[in-house]
């Protein structure tokens, strides 16, 4: 579904991402793991068009999105839930969710999806009139994922969904991801929490200083001794 | 020549006004209310020389203290406000102050006045006439320009020293992020109020100097326009370093005068200049990077170590 060849991203003279190639097939959950500052976020920002791609060829389905602006990429069904949630604090929960469905015009289906999201996250239904700015971190993450789902994504990119959450909430977030995976959603997941990420994904890419240094099936990587030492903090 | 001396005095007064904005601008607070302290300084300064028989130096100092007092009055309750709340509070205060100055009447009757000129001191909307200290004490325009620029020099040197001290770094930290400043133990409110009071003091001095140069003041002189232009001095000149307000105010005051040959089109040209500067030099004419570059260029030519990075 997503096919990235030799992606390079530069900020001025600095090359944040070098010749990264990766693929995501329909129905897969793929994760990018790596240390802070390894370039994971730069990769997905380039994919969704938020930062320009210096070189490389990116295909999404049959469309070449190498130089497409972000809002048009989203319209194709590649939906990026950014790091730090990026909700609009002065909007209510419901308004934030409705924003997710901006690209769609099927009113009844949107209403159905809204109901579905609220069923998935009952907390959001309870607080549908509350302003997003006044909610807790966990609730905001749910809202962010919910907003992403409202777009009916073909590929959902989740950037650090567990960042800054309490351990109990981290677990809940991974439960949600597991649920989405069961429903057959295609997901590209960025995580610092490598162990959890590997446990809930099909395949993984390990990123170090802007390059892919290792890739393979998540279940294999979990057992890789070098990786365990370097990223998982286990001996 | 005395024309250019007058322009020089006016420029000095505007430079002071620009620094009064800059004092709180350093900590990220945008005030459009400096004209209120300017006006208070003008009224207090003029009252002391005209009605109280004080000398110019004490009157100007008193004008400064009056400006500082007024700025504390508005600053203490409103400086805890976030961002533009404070700016709007200063607008409201300035307009309120204008109304007060406009309606102010005190002083004493003049025995020998013409019809309509029988009051010494501010007479409500009619204004405050006979601020004739300069004529009475034979101070020429050239001498006055020197007095004004001596005060400007003191202020510039003070800012030059502050800019290189810990205080400036703290103020810039507050500008960057108040939360960070607070987390490293900076008493943010106290610094903001102190900076604003310094601004009020400079504005007050400037106002007292203005009153004596103009010989007549009235509440309507102190409209909000003046504050916005004072802010423009800083923004156009550059709000990142202490050179910005100086350059901004000088250009703003001198350029319209040199543009006189094109007559009525000079305001358009001038407005255009503001827009152009904002387009091509958004950090103002003098940016921090530019000062650094110059500093490096000058010091390396002299074979010294490059200066520290500006905070």
């Amino acid at each position: 579904m997503l096919d990235v060849q030799d992606l390079t991203v530069s900020y001025g003279a600095i090359r944040a991402v070098r010749n990264v190639s990766l693929t995501v097939k329909a129905g897969e959950v793929v994760t990018l793991i790596g240390a802070n500052g390894a370039g994971k976020t730069s990769i997905v920002k380039a994919l969704s068009g938020l930062v320009p791609k210096a070189s490389g060829r990116t295909m999404f389905g049959d469309t070449n999105i190498s130089s497409l602006p972000a809002h048009q990429v989203t319209r194709l069904g590649l939906v990026h839930v950014p790091e730090g949630r990026k909700l609009v604090p002065s909007m209510s929960v419901e308004e934030n969710l409705m924003c997710g469905a901006y690209c769609r015009s099927d009113k009844q289906e949107i209403a159905a999806d809204l109901d579905q999201v609220m069923t998935r996250f009952p907390r959001l239904r309870e607080r549908r009139r509350q302003l997003a700015g006044t909610m807790s971190g966990g609730e905001r993450q749910m809202l962010a994922i919910g907003r992403g789902l409202m777009a009916r994504p073909e590929l959902l990119i989740l950037d650090e969904p567990s960042l800054g959450l309490a351990p109990l909430l981290v677990e809940e977030v991974f439960n949600i991801i597991a649920g989405l995976k069961q429903e057959g959603k295609t997901i590209l997941l960025i995580e610092q929490n490598a162990l959890e990420a590997l446990n809930s994904s099909d395949r993984a890419y390990v990123i170090r200083v802007g390059e892919v240094v290792m890739s393979g099936r998540s279940s294999d990587l979990v057992d890789d001794p070098e990786l365990r030492r370097a990223y998982l903090g286990v001996n | 020549m005395s024309y250019w001396f007058t322009i020089a005095s006016l420029t000095g007064i505007n430079v002071l006004l620009a620094y009064s904005v800059y004092a709180s601008f350093m900590s990220g607070q945008v005030s459009i209310g400096q004209v209120a302290f300017f006006g208070v300084g003008a009224y207090v300064g003029a009252s002391l020389t005209v009605l109280g028989g004080f000398d110019l130096a004490s009157a100007v100092m008193a004008g400064g203290f009056a400006g500082a007092a007024a700025s504390l009055f508005v600053g203490v309750p409103t400086l805890r406000l976030k961002g533009y709340h404070f700016t709007i509070a200063t607008v409201a205060f300035a307009e309120a102050m204008r109304v007060v100055l406009h309606n102010l009447k005190y002083g004493r009757p003049r025995s020998s006045g013409n019809v309509g000129d029988q009051w010494l001191g501010p007479d409500g909307a009619t204004g405050f006439r006979h601020i004739s200290y300069l004529n009475d004490h034979s101070i020429s325009t050239g001498q006055y320009a020197v007095i004004v620029w001596l005060i400007v020099a003191v202020v510039v040197v003070a800012f030059f020293l502050v800019e290189r001290s810990r205080i400036a770094r703290i103020l810039r930290t507050i500008e960057e992020d108040e939360v960070v400043a607070r987390s490293i133990g900076v008493p943010v409110a106290r610094y903001k109020v102190a900076a604003f009071a310094c601004g009020g003091f400079i504005a007050g001095i400037s106002g007292a100097l203005y009153a004596h140069l103009l010989t007549f003041i009235s509440g309507n002189d102190f409209i909000i326009h003046l504050s916005t232009i004072a802010l423009a001095y800083v923004v156009i000149g550059g709000g990142q370093t202490m050179w910005g307000p100086l350059i901004g105010a000088i250009i703003f005051t001198v350029l319209p005068e040199t543009l006189r040959p094109i007559r009525e089109f000079r305001i358009e040209l001038f407005g255009l200049l503001i827009i152009l500067v904002m387009l091509f030099r958004p950090a103002g004419m003098i940016s921090a990077a530019m000062v650094r570059r110059w500093g490096v260029a000058l010091t390396s030519k002299a074979g010294a170590k490059p200066p520290r990075k500006a905070p």
């Binding site: - | 024309y3 013409n114 000129d117 009619t126 004529n135 305001i267």
Partner: protein, 420 residues
């Protein structure tokens, strides 16, 4: 050298450079000024707002002056020592800003060496400019400027009090209004029941009320039945007009500017406030009163110095000349005052017998000042006779104009009385 010393050194160098730049700039601009009377002309300065908010009265006034100067120079100029000398008018634009006004006044007095400074026309700026003048002539302790200055329109009673070198041709407000009130009494009976409205934010509206209307009314020992204030920038006058209407006064004195006048009169029309007589002075002599105010401003009476409705042929000539030069249809009195002011100055120069040499400038200025102070029975181009009073205001016979049928009609003249 330490780093601080170093940067101080460069600061000094920068300041020195800046000083040099400023000095060369100054030189460039002062050499641009006229060398004194090399071309054998009499130099007059003219300061008024030609751009900015005061343009609407500064421009007409300036044009009036230019027309006068053109006329004088077309005749060869003024005779000095048996030789005709032309007048050169140096025009400065103060944008109705007092800070520019003081600088320009000094420029005219010291760099341009003007014999007389005409202006400025905006009373706020006039106040500051005249504050630079010597208060009393021959006071050796007062180092103020010693140059005669005449403003043609600063309609703020008392503004000349600041210096004996200051003169006005704007009219003697107390006398004007005393006469206007007397005439109203003649026509409508005792002036008892009256109300007033003042534009409280404008110095000269307030000054006119205090110095001109109030004394005239106090002499009659009457107080206003209602008195209201508004600001020039106000947009809503309903509260004030209702108060006035409730007071049911016969006479209404309007001491306010154009914009507020129109707004207030429209509201008066709406509320049905219709006094027998409305007297105004400033701000009613403008085409907008009829254009914007429509029927509501009907019946307003104002005293005028020179109005295009005057029957004198020279007034008609001036109006035609003004229309020709500007393509405007209405000539406000500012044009006439400018024209007449220059003629007054010319008269004073002729009578003063000046030498017009660089070394006699101070002496010449003093002589012209004395002649201005002594103006008596000067026959103006509009046919009236003008006198300078002790306040250094020109006293002139007043004429009343009334807005009637969408036009400005001469209402009362000294020789014919009420015309309708």
């Amino acid at each position: 050298m330490s780093r601080t010393q170093k940067s101080n050194f460069y600061t000094v160098r920068a300041i020195a450079l800046a000083t040099v730049a400023a000095a060369s700039l100054t030189a460039a601009f002062t050499t641009g000024a006229t060398a004194f009377q090399d071309d054998g002309t009499i130099i007059l300065c003219s300061i008024e707002p030609l751009s900015g908010i005061g343009t609407s009265f500064g421009q007409p006034n300036y044009l009036g002056k230019v027309i006068a100067i053109d006329e004088i120079n077309a005749e060869g100029g003024i005779e000095i020592d048996g030789k005709k000398v032309k007048i050169k008018l140096i025009s400065e634009d103060d944008q109705a800003k007092p800070d520019q006004g003081v600088a320009l006044f000094r420029k005219c007095a010291e760099s341009e060496k003007a014999l007389v400074i005409t202006g400025t026309q905006y009373s706020r700026v006039t106040e500051s400019m005249w504050g630079l003048l010597q208060k009393k002539v021959d006071d050796p302790n007062d180092k103020g400027l010693q140059v005669p200055s005449m403003s043609f329109l600063s309609m703020k009673a008392g503004v000349t009090g600041v210096s004996e070198w200051a003169f006005r041709n704007a009219g003697d407000e107390p006398a004007q209004h005393e006469l206007a009130i007397k005439l109203m009494e003649e026509k409508f009976g005792p002036f008892k029941n009256y109300s007033g409205a003042v534009e409280a934010n404008e110095g000269h509206s307030v000054a006119a009320w205090k110095a001109a209307y109030t004394p005239a009314l106090e002499r009659r020992n009457i107080k206003p039945a209602e008195y209201v204030e508004w600001y020039e920038t106000d947009r809503d006058f309903s509260v004030q007009i209702r108060k006035l209407k409730r007071a049911e006064t016969d006479f209404f004195i309007l001491s306010s500017h154009l914009q507020a006048n129109v707004g207030a009169m429209l509201e008066a029309q709406r509320q049905g406030f219709k006094p027998k007589m409305i007297i105004s002075h400033i701000g009613s002599d403008a085409a907008e009163m009829v254009e914007l105010g429509k029927q509501s401003t009907e019946g307003i009476v104002f005293p005028t110095a020179i109005h295009m409705a005057f029957p004198a042929p020279k007034v008609k000539w001036l109006a035609d000349e003004y229309k020709k030069r500007t393509k405007e249809t209405y000539m406000p009195q500012f044009v006439g005052l400018g024209y007449e002011g220059i003629m007054l100055v010319k008269e004073a120069i002729i009578k003063a017998g000046i030498k017009n040499r660089p070394e006699t400038l101070a002496e010449d200025r003093r002589k012209v000042r004395d002649q201005l102070a002594a103006i008596k029975d000067y026959k103006s181009f509009a046919g009236m006779s003008l006198n300078m009073n002790a306040n250094r205001d020109i006293v002139r016979p007043i004429y009343l104009v009334k807005i009637t049928g969408g036009d400005f009609k001469l209402y009362w003249t000294p020789d014919k009385g009420f015309l309708f």
